[in-house]
């Protein structure tokens, strides 16, 4: 599965808007993840996960920055996220099922912040993009 030219264009142009609120989007996606899928909190026993916490805001910003890196290197996401991929494989070892859950929460966050832009075609592009990112982050697992 790879992105068409049209899909890349959609993602790049939407990221222009999203990046002005990137930290908030990353943070809110995590809040939604922990609220809807409490089992995901097991990966963060060392964090204060209450909404608005400094830990959540810092980590949300990290997630958003990584997505930004992937967007900026949209033709070589594997290259851009290579270190992060290794970290997830050897250190973090987050079960692959959770990437779908976070991707879904990212989609919900973007949909609620940018409803007019989040057409069905845009939704498809972002869903595909996040699938590719998830694949890259789990490709060194075994």
């Amino acid at each position: 599965m790879s992105l068409t030219k049209a899909e890349k264009t959609i993602i790049l142009s939407m990221w222009g808007k999203i990046s002005t609120q990137a930290d908030a989007v990353g943070t809110q996606a995590l809040e939604r993840l922990f609220a809807s899928y409490p089992q995901t909190k097991t990966y963060f026993p060392h964090f204060d996960l209450r909404p608005g916490s400094a830990h959540l805001r810092t980590h949300g910003a990290k997630v958003a920055a990584a997505l930004g890196d992937a967007v900026k290197s949209i033709d070589n996401i594997a290259g851009a996220l290579s270190k992060l991929s290794e970290m997830h494989a050897y250190v973090l070892r987050v079960d692959p099922v959770n990437f779908k859950l976070l991707s879904h929460c990212l989609l919900v966050t973007v949909a609620s912040h940018f409803p007019a832009d989040f057409t069905a075609d845009a939704h498809t592009a972002w869903d595909k993009f996040l699938s590719i990112v998830s694949c890259v982050l789990t490709e060194k697992y075994r």
């Binding site: 939604r32 609220a35 069905a120 498809t124």
Partner: protein, 147 residues
């Protein structure tokens, strides 16, 4: 059996009251067919599904989407009794329509996303969590009678 707290029920019921079932139903089904095109396999007789605009404007998609979401409204009325409420529909989806239950999860997530586009800030993480629980429970209820 899934247990919904009073807060979760309130979150679901109050949002549902504001949902335009005809409009949202059409959008939900349309998005499913656009974002996951393999789901079109169940709708060979729906006519033109060749592009996003064709799908989202397709009258059969809108009509069926309304039907599906109206049925979902039944879930909102019977949150404590979903398995029984959807028993017949479960058998139908298995025996007559041969739908992989994975599709119920996809549709459930579509409902969430369309609600997010319509209700924006009002669709808080807590509201989403309540709806997430409901769509999961409905998906399970619809899969319950599979054999």
């Amino acid at each position: 059996m899934v247990h919904f707290t009073a807060e979760e029920k309130a979150a679901v019921v109050s949002l549902w009251a504001k949902v335009n079932v005809e409009l949202v139903g059409g959008e939900v089904l349309g998005r499913l067919l656009v974002v996951y095109p393999w789901t079109q396999r169940f709708f060979d007789n729906f006519g033109n599904l060749s592009s996003e605009s064709a799908i989202m404007g397709n009258p059969k998609v809108k009509a069926h989407g309304k039907k599906v979401l109206t049925s979902f409204g039944n879930a909102v009325k019977h949150m404590d009794d979903l398995k029984d409420t959807f028993a017949e529909l479960s058998e139908l989806h298995c025996d007559k329509m041969h739908v992989d239950p994975e599709n119920f999860k996809l549709l459930g997530n579509m409902i969430l996303i369309v609600l997010a586009t319509h209700f924006s800030k009002e669709f808080t993480p807590q509201v989403q969590a309540a709806w997430q629980k409901l769509t999961t429970a409905v998906a399970n209820a619809l899969a319950h009678r599979y054999h």
